[in-house]
């Protein structure tokens, strides 16, 4: 009996001890491996388009001879949305599977966990999708780079538009977690700076993906705001739009929506998509053929038989950024890649030139802003949109230096 019980323990340990089958072969033609960690299952709706974007980039890069003459390969690993799990996988990817750097995550907390771990272990980490600005500012470190447009910048773009209207009384609604609070704080800071007389008359904080939209709409209505700033997304957004529209919440009010125009969140609304909201998003449908953006859309549709999401774009840019950095580094050594990322220039991407600032390791990916409308086919689209460069909306270099921990 005891013997058997012990054997089980030994067996359990043995499963963990099976030698790796995938010891990286360091030859000239072996693929360069990138460890991509994401919540592919937990946030499938957002992670799948992102993954496809990477796959498209990788297939194009490898068709053009790869990186440093070697093919590029992404190892996709699922972390279940658990920061601790992500850290373990990061360790495994780097020490066992032969990855040369790490990318990925959507959830900010997972991104922060990997970032902290990467700094400690000296691994390069490109935080492709996490939204929290603290990744590159308050908790920034030399080994973490961030691709996605910062929340601060996108909120500032909306605040700029809001400041140009007569609205004084603002209500905000944002999911009750770090991104939501950061997005509201950024909007408030920018708007009050531009127009000190504004008032914030209501702040609503529904739990993420568990909104009670009816009650939220009533609470917003009760505050009688002139304008509403929305940070909810996904199913929360759909429910809020539905209840709000039915109850006339948005009638005669300006509405600003952070990320609202991204196809991930806007497309599911179908013909119930709200009109006249000023939003950030990704208007792929307007990209003309022959432009870099249009070519990306065409290639994506050809490869996957579906239209791209914002995540597809970020994923694609992730692939390009990694390839460019390694190409520039001329090697797969961590320190070389890290140095190559600083002030890295990628001239041709679907959104134009992309740059990684040495100042804070943040990319110069901007944002598309525009007004929502229903098109003839009854689909929600962004019109009168423009692509805005983030530079004017960034805090000053000195402010950023003050935020970043000393290197």
């Amino acid at each position: 009996m005891t013997l058997l019980r012990r054997t089980v323990l030994a067996l359990a340990a043995a499963t963990a001890l099976t030698p790796s089958t995938l010891l990286a072969q360091e030859t000239d033609t072996a693929p360069i491996k990138i460890g991509e960690i994401n919540h592919f299952k937990r946030l499938a709706a957002f992670a799948e388009p992102y993954r496809k974007g990477i796959e498209l980039a990788v297939s194009e890069i490898n068709a053009n001879g790869g990186v440093l003459g070697r093919p590029l390969e992404f190892l996709f690993r699922d972390d279940q949305g658990d920061p601790a799990e992500a850290v373990r996988i990061a360790e495994e990817l780097m020490t066992r599977d032969g990855a040369v750097m790490l990318t990925g995550t959507i959830l900010s907390n997972v991104g922060l966990a990997i970032s902290s771990f990467a700094a400690e272990k000296h691994y390069v980490y490109l935080a492709s999708e996490p939204l929290a600005d603290t990744l590159v500012w308050g908790s920034g470190n030399p080994y973490t780079f961030r691709l996605r447009t910062s929340t601060w910048v996108q909120a500032a773009m909306l605040a700029e538009q809001a400041a140009s209207t007569d609205a004084i009384r603002y209500a905000t609604i944002a999911p009750n977690y770090a991104y939501g609070t950061e997005a509201v704080a950024a909007f408030k800071a920018n708007l009050t700076r531009l127009k000190p007389e504004v008032e914030f008359v209501a702040e609503q904080w529904p739990p993420l993906f568990n909104i009670d939209a009816g009650a939220e709409a009533q609470a917003l209505e009760r505050a009688k705001p002139d304008a509403i700033y929305n940070v909810t997304f996904g199913t929360d957004l759909a429910k809020l739009v539905r209840e709000g529209t039915d109850r006339g919440l948005f009638d005669g009010r300006d509405v600003y929506g952070l990320l609202t125009g991204e196809p991930e969140y806007f497309e599911p609304l179908g013909d119930e998509a709200p009109e006249g909201w000023f939003v950030t998003g990704y208007p792929w449908y307007d990209f003309a053929e022959g432009t870099p953006g249009g070519d990306f859309v065409a290639a994506y549709e050809a490869m996957f038989g579906e239209t791209p999401k914002n995540g597809s774009n970020v994923g694609y840019l992730t692939g390009l950024s990694v390839a460019a950095a390694i190409e520039r580094a001329g090697s797969t050594e961590t320190e070389a890649i890290r140095a190559a990322f600083e002030d890295l220039d990628i001239p041709d991407t679907p959104i134009g030139p992309l740059h990684y600032r040495a100042l804070d390791n943040q990319s110069t990916l901007g944002a598309f802003v525009g007004t929502t409308e229903l098109n003839a086919a009854g689909e929600g689209v962004m019109v009168d949109w423009s692509y805005k460069d983030p530079a004017p909306y960034m805090p000053s270099d000195d402010e950023i230096r003050a935020m970043r921990p000393a290197e």
Partner: protein, 619 residues
């Protein structure tokens, strides 16, 4: 005034779907005593099937017909789950079935992703019910009014079914006394299947009915399950009117919470649940749990004994193997073993109160995460030396457990479990919302060990010594007079009290001790990962531990440790595959069906059988 009325109506409308799902869960628990974690998954299936059917069937008839058909379809799925999985394990220890339902959750998640894809589906509108009616000038969506009207009808229909039909009589009889049903000459297996199907159908209807207010997405299952459990517990497990009252109570309170305390919505219902349970330990309309109902099903445990010489030699051999591991294994294996040891200690601490103490905690993560946070906060805010901060982890977690345990130990069974869950949610919300202290879900980062420990090798030995030390300490305590007193209180509280044992005090000390050990695991964890986030305090974390304890075997001493090693290893290997959740779910279900006493329990039984066969063999 009109505003309050409108808000109240919103709450009532929200109660409709909640009540449907909760009544199904309550019914299933009342009759089969299964705590069905997969109930949220059935609700999600209802939403997806409903959307699909509504796209096929046109018009108002199609819409309402689709809802009806959805319930039937989900009912059939529920019946299948019952027949294929649950029927085989009714004789397993109480609450063991929840492990199987957890496997079902994983399977359904991946199947739904395969069938319907990742994108969220917006629910179709109810034909003719778009827009609002005005009540005292306040807009109230038409569909809300319909939902408000439907809910009492459903309650009445269920009431009729339960009180006026033969099925109802059987259900009530089974809720009172399971054995009695057999005496009534009824095939218990089919009654259980029928009830499970009905409960599932109710969840399916709930999912379909909420479509015009929302839609179908892959996160629905976990999003509703917490609320549903809260409703069922507040109402009293097994009570349909209780579920109704609680669904209305929670929904209306929530609507008012949104309007007047917008930040409170994360914890409001858990505060309500804790308050209700402290005042009324069996919920509003629940009945008292019969003593010994929990942990006493199935064959009794055999007496325990510390390892004999052979066991000690084998343990020593295994420890020597682990100690010499850095000599031949690659570095990553050390990381994995650290994770396994940490999780095994966490699971062993839960096993201590669950197995030896008979106290099923659904909120054990509060102490794991609590310990991790205690150490991390000290390091983050005060730059306390790691060695000191580390000591603080078990200390703080133990004190926290003492405080929480003081409230919880007066309850028992599922109600005890749910009160621990409520408190762990409160701790979670503190970590989540007290941003100035904890940085919210940005977490506390850069929490690394002192220099002399900072490296894979020193930290590996550090974890090995303290982790294994903790596990062995717990084992030792199980064999000590205190451990025996704890077991006495579990086996027969009345007898224990009648022989001078202060059962509640013994349980409280055990609870605090388990909290301390969980906190030690949390301390080891935080310095190995370098960061801690509110995820470590989540319900999912508590359930991870719960599942490995059951998987390993509640009525064995090594169950928690073996279960943790097994699940961590399997999970680590499977997650690299595309549909890993499906596979993991199937693995869990397979283990549950093949080894209803847990891995260790079943292996031990097999070994005993072999030995007996040897002895009986003719010489």
């Amino acid at each position: 005034m009109a505003f309050y009325l409108a808000l109240f109506l919103t709450g009532l409308a929200n109660a409709a779907a909640l009540f449907l799902v909760a009544s199904g869960l309550s019914l299933i628990f009342g009759v089969t005593r299964i705590v069905n974690f997969a109930h949220g998954s059935l609700y999600m299936l209802g939403a997806f099937i409903g959307v699909t059917l509504m796209q096929v069937l046109p018009g108002a008839v199609g819409f309402w017909g689709a809802i009806l058909l959805t319930g039937l379809a989900v009912g059939v799925i529920g019946a299948l789950v019952e027949i294929v999985v649950l029927r085989r394990i009714y004789r397993a220890p109480e609450l063991f079935q929840l492990v199987a339902t957890f496997g079902v959750i994983l399977v359904i998640q991946d199947l739904a992703l395969m069938i319907w894809g990742a994108e969220d589906r917006l629910g179709p509108r109810a034909p003719g019910l778009r827009g609002v009616w005005r009540i005292f000038g306040e807009p109230v969506p038409k569909y809300d009014i319909v939902l408000i009207a439907i809910t009492p009808v459903i309650l009445l229909a269920l009431w009729y079914l339960i009180t006026r039909t033969r099925l109802g009589i059987l259900v009530r009889a089974a809720t009172q006394d399971r054995e009695m049903v057999g005496a009534l000459g009824v095939n218990q297996a089919w009654l259980f299947t029928g009830v499970f199907a009905l409960g599932s159908a109710l969840a399916g209807w709930g999912g379909a009915l909420q479509l015009p207010k929302g839609g179908a997405d892959l996160l629905m299952d976990f999003n509703i399950i917490g609320t549903v459990f809260v409703v069922v517990v507040i109402g009293g497990m097994g009570s349909l009117p209780g579920a109704f009252i609680a669904a209305v109570l929670i929904s209306v309170l929530n609507a008012f919470g949104v309007a007047f305390l917008p930040q409170s919505t994360l914890v409001l219902m858990f505060v309500v649940m804790a308050a209700v349970l402290i005042v009324r330990p069996y919920g509003l309309l629940g009945r008292e749990e019969v003593a010994g109902e929990h942990g006493q099903v199935g064959a009794p445990e055999s007496p325990i004994r510390p390892y004999g010489p052979r066991g000690i030699v084998l343990t020593a051999f295994l420890l020597a193997l682990l100690a010499s591991l850095p000599g031949f294994a690659e570095p990553f294996v050390l990381t994995l073993v650290i994770d396994i040891v940490v999780f095994a200690l966490f699971a062993a601490s839960l096993h201590f109160i669950l197995g030896t103490g008979g106290m099923v905690s659904f909120g054990h993560a509060a102490f794991f995460g609590g310990g991790a946070y205690a150490a991390a906060l000290l390091v983050f805010h005060t730059d306390t030396p790691m060695e000191l901060a580390f000591l603080f982890a078990p200390l703080a977690a133990g004190l926290l457990a003492l405080a929480i345990g003081w409230f919880c130990i007066r309850l028992s069974g599922v109600y005890f479990a749910m009160l621990t869950l409520a408190f762990s949610q409160l701790v979670w919300s503190l970590a989540f919302q007290w941003r100035s202290l904890t940085r919210g879900d940005d977490g506390l980062i850069n929490i690394w060990p002192a220099d002399w420990l900072n490296g894979p090798l020193p930290y590996y030995y550090f974890t090995l010594i303290l982790g294994v030390g903790g596990i062995l300490t717990l084992r030792h305590i199980i064999h000590s007079p205190f451990g025996y007193a704890l077991r006495a209180g579990r086996d027969s509280p009345r007898q224990a009290e009648a022989m001078g044992i202060d059962v509640k005090r013994v349980q409280l000390v055990a609870f605090a001790l388990a909290g301390m050990m969980a906190g030690l695991a949390g301390g080891l964890f935080v310095f190995s990962k370098g960061s801690v986030f509110p995820t470590e305090l989540e319900i999912a974390k508590s359930f991870d531990a719960l599942i490995v304890v059951f998987l390993g075997g509640v009525k064995t001493l090594a169950g928690g440790v073996v279960g943790a090693s097994f699940l961590t290893s399997v999970e680590h290997w499977l997650t690299r595959l595309e549909y890993w959740r499906l596979l993991l779910g199937l693995v869990i279900i397979a283990v549950v069906i093949l080894m209803p006493e847990g891995i260790v329990g079943t292996l031990r039984r097999q070994a005993l059988r072999l030995r007996r066969a040897d002895e009986e063999a003719p010489r």
